[in-house]
């Protein structure tokens, strides 16, 4: 988990007329997810995943809609969403690069690799390139220590990466 600073109490929630949690998504949750659990609250994480997989990130309005649908308070949904690293409360680049920074990867050259990626993209960890294509993130052990160093690009794992082979991975992305 990571500590994510909360927005101040004076923040304005951006709203749009069209809901994020569409009727189709609600039906999917109602039919396939909610029956799996003893409480509706237990569908919080699946609902957050579903909305994020559809929309890319989790606007506050979407979390309010999830709360209403599951019969929870908006603060509960926000509380859960902010605890987990994978939920995005702000938009990110088209490709999110998650570079593993844990021990096995560091032992096999992750720090110099990360420097090269930063130089190539011209951004620091946590930032997005100006063209909106890449967001660079540090992440803890990806469970791929035997093929270190490694990184995820969106949902795809890249193992045994070097500055060169990773460069061609990035170049091959649109």
């Amino acid at each position: 988990m990571a500590w994510i600073a909360k927005n101040s109490a004076t923040m304005q929630i951006e709203r749009r007329d069209e809901p994020y949690l569409t009727d189709a998504l609600k039906k999917q949750l109602e039919d396939q997810v909610i029956p799996r659990y003893d409480t509706r609250m237990a569908a919080t994480m699946p609902a957050l995943h579903l909305v994020q997989d559809t929309h890319g990130w989790l606007p506050h309005q979407a979390m309010e809609e999830i709360a209403e649908f599951l019969g929870l308070t908006a603060s509960h949904v926000l509380d859960t969403a902010t605890f987990y690293e994978e939920y995005w409360l702000k938009p990110h680049g088209k490709y999110v690069i998650w570079v593993c920074q844990s021990l096995s990867c560091e032992l096999l050259g992750q720090p110099s690799l990360l420097e090269k990626i930063k130089g190539h993209l011209g951004i620091e960890v946590g930032e997005t390139t100006d063209d909106g294509r890449f967001t660079l993130m540090g992440v803890e052990c990806l469970g791929s220590c035997g093929t270190a160093p490694c990184a995820l690009v969106n949902h795809k794992l890249h193992e045994n990466i070097t500055a060169d082979n990773f460069q061609s991975v990035l170049d091959s992305l649109e």
Partner: protein
Amino acid sequence: MTTLKEPVLTKRIPTHPWGDPTDRKVVSYKQYVKTDGYKGLKNALAMEPSDVVDLVKAAEVRGRGGAGFPAGMKWSFLPPEDGGRRYLAINSDESEPGTFKDRLLIDFDPHIIIEGIAICMHACRLDTAYFYIRGEYHHQREVFEAAIKEAYENKIFGKGSKLGQINGRDPDLFLHRGAGAYVCGEETALLESLEGKRGWPRIKPPFPAVAGAFGRPTIINNVETLAICTPILERGEDGPKWFQSMGTQRPEGAPPHVPASFGPKLFGVSGHVNRPGVYEEELGITLKDLIEGLCQGMLNGKKYKSAIPGGISTGVLGPDEYDVRLDFDITKYDTLGLGTAGVIVMDEDTCMVGVARNIAHFFGHESCGQCTPCREGTNWMSKMLSRIEAGDGTTRDLDLLLEIAGSMGALPSGRGATICGLADGANWAVRTIVNKFWDEFEAKVSKQRFVSLSVVGS
């Protein structure tokens, strides 16, 4: 020297020295059944549930998720059935740095896990199982979802299940996707996460076997623990004897309640070795044999310096501990135990201050923040170690580091000051590194005395 006679968990997953990892493919339900798959479940279903529990107890299977708690004993802590739901939560959070063994089973032989799950559900009368898989395992999630589908199609679960009805319900297995939080591997944090909340570990008691998921009796086991029950049940009555022909006996002179370390075990080896990867060996193989045999020696012909036996929470082994036996009783060598058997090997050129800094950073980042000693202490250690590594530390810092580390943890060595074991991991890792490599830390802080003005007077 390797001692395991034939692959057990890796029977269908080509692995050195029996097979070539480049030949690995996902084993489908059909292929699994063709190679004696679901025979263990068949044997289990022919037995009374309580006899299955007794069999696993007799085999003395110890949990493979980190703590090494005997699985059969855990299963017998459940209260009698009352007609209400009872759960199984399978711990597939696998986030401990250095650990990637469960992933091998999910990637290539998901049905060996599913069979173990079904055996446990029958034995313990559990009607609903949740496979809690870490969020970053995207490919693994797809493979496992497909295997679950096959299992439903072949009536392992669902309506008309071979298990029959349990607690008046058709048995179900669902996948629950995590979202990036190491602490959710702690069993009660996992339950909170399953219930849709932030992953804050619960204060125990009550233990999950009595009041777990949704307040109901729940068994939580690691992926490999359930998988290893499959080959045991496959051998029926002979299972325990076969299982105990591998591994090591309880240490001489140990009190009777201390269990032995039986069976084969998956070792995930990473770091400075020539051939890293997941290997299956008997518990009790020495670190030296693991490195020089299966891993084909140290990378670039360098010398061994240190290793972490089972994920960074277990602390480090020093240069003089190259011969340790990797079994659950490795504790006598001053580590927190075998942990997950995720072995990280470090060569002579490794800076141990940097290793400590990396590890402390991890714990600082992953602390859930519930207990003050852990929330503040891990981040404090992380900052101090960065400072020491940069050459701005003092000798006093080293004593302070040991003091902070020793002030956190759920175990007596951490003064029982925290709710869960994450803090014990931080405590052990930092203390063992600083103690075993004191000279290296001292050199780092004393050298600066002469070159950095900022230290003068501090």
